[in-house]
Amino acid sequence: MNLRATLRLALQALIRNKARSLLTMLGIVIGVAAVIVTVAIGTGARVQVQNSINALGSNLIVVQPGSVTTSGARGGLGTASTLTPADGMAIASLPGVASVSPMVTLRTQVVAGENNWQTTISGAAPTYTYIRSWPIATGRLFSQSDVDSTAKVAVLGQTVVGQLFGNANPIGATIVIKGAPFVVIGTLAPLGQSGTGQDQDDTVLIPYTSAMERLTGLTTVNQLMISAASADKIDAVQSEVTQLLESRHRIVAPQPDDFQVRNLQSIAQAASATGTVMELLLAGVAAVSLIVGGIGIMNIMMVSVTERTREIGLRMSVGARGKTILRQFLAEAVVLSTAGGLIGVVGGAIFTIVVAAVAKWPTDIPIGSVVLSVAFSALVGIFFGYYPAKKASELHPIEALRFE
């Protein structure tokens, strides 16, 4: 008997007992549906976490100067003045680097008319808003030619706008930073708090050249912000930047680097570790529910074999081999569990869509988990269907026929 005939026979037998077949499947249906729903919501949550990490900056790498030691006292990170805009230019030409922004930061008083406010001045390149994934709200960003001409233009964060201008339109107004007048040409979209609780909107963005010339008077910068072309290139870019800077700064082996290169991988790794734990947990729950479903199937198959002993005897007497009987009952168990798995996938998907629509939760049903749970339910059918099927196939035709 071929596979098609066996499957058809199994289907006939199951359809003959519709109510029982459906109830038997229920365990697997609920198990698989639960897996699909939890995976869908879990994956959705994970995507959201990933998005917030990305919001910190697209594939961000930060280079900071090292420390200086003055009369035995070691200054902290960033106290050395070793990074120059030229280092930034060199890094920008590395493969795998999307963009670079030299950063000059200082805290100082900003005055606009009668109002004043102490805030962080960030001297940056026009690439900065791309690197930070930080859109402009109104007006425009300064351009490369503003940078080249050390233009006295500023883009304000929302907190600064509120403190200095209230509800008035700041664009075109003049603010004074350390005695130098800057024209406001744009505002930044609100970004909210950073991961460490700082108000990221409390800032004024100006060309880094202007900051160096008018505010710090230095030829070095505080930071180089680098955006890698993609997440998987971060590690490679990080080591290339290190090599490049070592050669530019003429640092040889035993000498310590006068800079430090860091990225946001630690946060991403923590998030992915959390995700892995969640996934293991889900897999555990899934395995338990599917095994319980499988035991349900085994139970019903055992009852079914006993109940259909005479049928088995008859089938044997008209020429069914033991193996054929085994295959038939195994097929019934597998059809039950696979159908249960498929119904569970559909039910889980419908429930997920409803949850996503009603609760506005982000969800995502990965095709891999769908395939995996259906395949696993088929395996459950084989595993738990084998014993009852084996019992059926080992019945003696005469005793089976006489069974009352």
Binding site: M1, M316, V318, A320, R321
Partner: protein, 233 residues
């Protein structure tokens, strides 16, 4: 002419609770093609055991069994199943039709296991149902049929593989006298018109009287083997 069934020195011993029970104590019998034999005897006489071995549902403890000239004494389960599916037909006292399954599907069942192509099954099944007079019940389920109708469906099922031997085990045991007569006349007709060898197991002399040869068992031995004069005449 090769006998359909030829047994010699056939023994069957069961072990029941540590004791050996001799069901058949050395039986010699030969059934030729076209015979209609009734096997009689009280319960415990060994007639059912003989039918089971002759029907290749069981194997003998000792002795030889030639089925259509081939030694079938030591076949394994699969080989016996294959012969059952191609050369033998069974009719039981309790019909043994599959419940919630149409008469037609019940009749087709042996062909499923014999590997008859799907396209031919329905045609052959309807043909045989026509012969036994139940073609009009093809779509009925067993619980919608009378006992006599169910037994006719079961007889049609035993015919679909054109068997060389039909084994009928108390086929009228659950039927009233009138229906029993009808069923026995059907067997007689199948034997006479189609030349099918029939082995009928019964303990009722009225039913055995339809056969042309009556073999009587007692305590595991054949005690009588007579031509049914009334029938042959």
């Amino acid at each position: 002419m090769t006998p359909v069934v030829a047994v010699s020195g056939l023994r069957k011993v069961y072990r029941l609770g540590g004791d050996d029970v001799v069901a058949l104590g050395g039986v010699d019998l030969t059934f030729n093609p076209g015979e209609f034999v009734a096997v009689m005897g009280p319960s415990g006489s060994g007639k059912s055991t003989f039918m089971q071995i002759a029907g290749l549902l069981d194997s003998p403890t000792a002795g030889t069994y030639l089925f259509e000239g081939t030694d079938a004494s030591h076949l394994d389960g699969d080989a016996r199943a294959d012969i059952r599916s191609r050369r033998l037909g069974f009719v039981f006292q309790s019909y043994n039709l599959l419940p919630r399954t149409t008469a037609l599907e019940n009749v087709e069942l042996p062909m499923v296991y014999a590997g008859v192509p799907e396209a031919d099954r329905t045609r052959i099944a309807l043909e045989k149902m026509e012969i036994v007079g139940v073609a009009h019940l093809a779509k009925h389920h067993p619980n919608q049929m009378s006992g006599g109708q169910q037994q006719r469906v079961a007889i049609a099922r035993s015919l679909v593989n054109d068997p060389s031997l039909i084994l009928a085990d108390e086929p009228t045991g659950a039927l009233d006298t009138k229906t029993s007569d009808d069923v026995m006349q059907l067997f007689t007709r199948l034997n006479a018109e189609c030349g099918i060898t029939i082995m009928l197991v019964t303990h009722e002399p009225d039913i055995a009287a339809y056969a042309r040869r009556i073999v009587t068992f007692r305590d595991g031995h054949v005690v009588a083997d007579k031509i049914n004069e009334r029938k042959v005449a």
